[in-house]
Amino acid sequence: MKTLWAIIKKEMLLLSRDMTGIALLFIMPVAMVFIMTMLQDSTLKALKSEKLDVIILDMDSSVVGKAILAALDSAPVFNIHNKYSHKDLNKKTVTDLVKKGDIKVGLVIPENTTLKIRRVITTEIKKQMPKNTLIPGISNKALMKPIEVEIYFDPVMKASLKQALSASIEAIIAKVQTQMVFKAYTGAIQRLNGRANDNDYPSGQLILKEKAVGHHAKSRLPNSTEHNVPAWTIFAIFFIVIPMSGQMIAERLEGPLLRLKTMPTPYGFHLLAKIIVYSFIAILQVVILLLIGHFILPLLKMPDLHINHIADTLLFTFFIGLAAASYAVAIGTIAKTQQQAAIFGSISVVILAAIGGIWVPTFMMSDIMIIISSLSPLNWSLQGYSVLFLQSGQLSDIIPEIIKLLVFSGISLTIAMIFEKKHSN
């Protein structure tokens, strides 16, 4: 135990004198968290609460026009512009506003839309009813020409939003039509039966209930702090590959390793001490970055990071540190020079970070990239933190992620052992 402590002390002394290493482990992730959180804040906010500016020219001013106006006004994704009075608006002004880009969508509801729909309906009902059934207010002349509700789009608008708007308007018109059909039919039937009841169309029979599915009911999309603090912490943890493998190679090239191998203390002890030290460095990194996320980012008007289970978070971080340190041991054993280790180490971590969802969250990735990202240990780490931070999960909820990280550590250390054996032959 004393020997292990002596090695740990030596590793800590060496690290404390490696200013570049310290900058890489602590200053770089702090800077990344600040920069990336601020950069992504507006994007993620937009993603969560983007509103579409819509201007409506309601020339119908009756049931259909009012229903469309009311429905779009109550929908969270549309922002109905009221600053232009009805008198100022015409088709040209609407198209001009969209052309200029001031408004994303212009909607023109033609004159007598309600009346025309009503005529079509009553004509159709009349065909179904016995001859001479009196249906008041209906002309015998059916309108065959379809009614055109015109929608003017800004061409740069997202296709998904266009579809959402078109679908909403179609749904509103369909609902109004259904209500009209119901009223017309019930009116005709009541007249045939000689009864007069004012029945309304029964609505509210089918309700859509939205529920997020996750380990816990609190599951949700991350805000910029909730994504960036864990993401860049993981990136920083894996960046221990650079100082740690660099030190291992310096130890080999400068000679201390040669001396260590002639000593009675097994070499595995030295590796174990390194892994312990760097796993605790990982915990220290997490503590610093979580404190920044919780206390400092809110001061800069960034979202707050809620820490739910601190002990579970730190324990999970230990497993991430273990995986990163084992990977560093593998690189430090395989690489022949510090330059090789630095280049391979940094590039491999950057690639694993890119595919692992550190830069761009996985929920914004394509399906194929989501599959690829599941191969990265940085992704397993991020998934684990997501459960802990966003879903109020506990360590027991992220057992699969922990197992994956342990397997990754085991594979890395086995590769290191094979290469180490090769060196001594």
Partner: protein, 250 residues
């Protein structure tokens, strides 16, 4: 040889990817308290022999016994009784001399009080005590060599392996090191030493083996080797006569 501390017989080693044997049927008998010189041109197999004896390399075949311990079965026991001073400065450049020596002493599990005394004694003896808190990277070549030497001695080894301990040092440092090695040997430590410096070896060693192409080509006390070869006035003449004048590292 009943009083031999190290027995080596039929030792062979060929590096992977090489057609030439680095060690070719080498046999050595090294007596207790001997200051044994292992000499040879570049590529003769001196460092390979030392690395095998220290357990850093595995031989292809051959028998080794050090102080009654069989190699490789009792390697951990062998490691406890031997010290090594490699050709490289095997120290942490970012640590001070004191931190380096404490760390290496702890690897031998030397009790803290004894370790403190050993470090202080050796630092004083080799003229480094006043610089003990300076980082190794700020030391001169000679100072680094002296700390390198101390690091191999802290656990009082029975046998000390030295690979070119005076290479690249000034005359003053060299003298301090040579005098110290003599004193160490007189106090009972067996020293196995490799060098290219014939004059130094002639002055220092009680027994010499000249190696070439992995083989033991001459063996004996320095004056015996000189008198045995006609026309040779010193060890360098013997060396040239036996190994030739052709360059070995072209």
């Amino acid at each position: 040889m009943a009083d031999a501390l190290i027995h080596v017989s039929g030792l062979n080693k060929t590096y992977k990817g090489s057609n030439v044997a680095a060690i070719d049927h080498l046999s050595l008998q090294i007596k207790k308290r001997c200051l044994y010189g292992l000499l040879g041109p570049n590529g003769a197999g001196k460092t390979t022999t030392l690395n095998i004896l220290c357990g850093l390399l595995k031989p292809d075949s051959g028998d080794i016994e050090i102080a009654g311990y069989r190699f490789p079965e009792q390697l951990s026991d062998i490691k406890r009784i031997m010290g090594i001073v490699p050709q490289e400065i095997a120290l942490y450049q970012e640590l001070t001399a004191l931190e380096n020596l404490r760390f290496f002493g702890n690897m031998y599990q030397i009790p803290p009080k004894l370790l403190h005394q050993q470090i202080e004694m050796y630092l004083k003896k080799l003229g480094l005590f006043h610089r003990k808190n300076d980082r190794i990277k700020h030391y001169s070549g000679g100072m680094k060599r002296r700390v390198n030497l101390i690091a191999g001695l802290l656990h009082d080894p029975i046998v000390l392996f030295l690979d070119e301990p005076t290479v690249g040092v000034d005359v003053q440092s060299k003298k301090v090191i040579i005098d110290f090695l003599k004193e160490l040997n007189e106090s009972g430590t067996t020293i196995i030493y490799t060098s290219h410096l014939m004059e130094e070896a002639q002055e220092l060693c009680s027994h010499i083996t000249i190696m070439d192409r992995g083989r033991n080509i001459a063996d004996g006390k320095p004056h015996e080797l000189i008198s045995k070869h006609k026309g040779c006035d010193n060890l360098e003449d013997v060396f040239i006569k036996l190994t030739g004048k052709a360059l070995r590292d072209q």
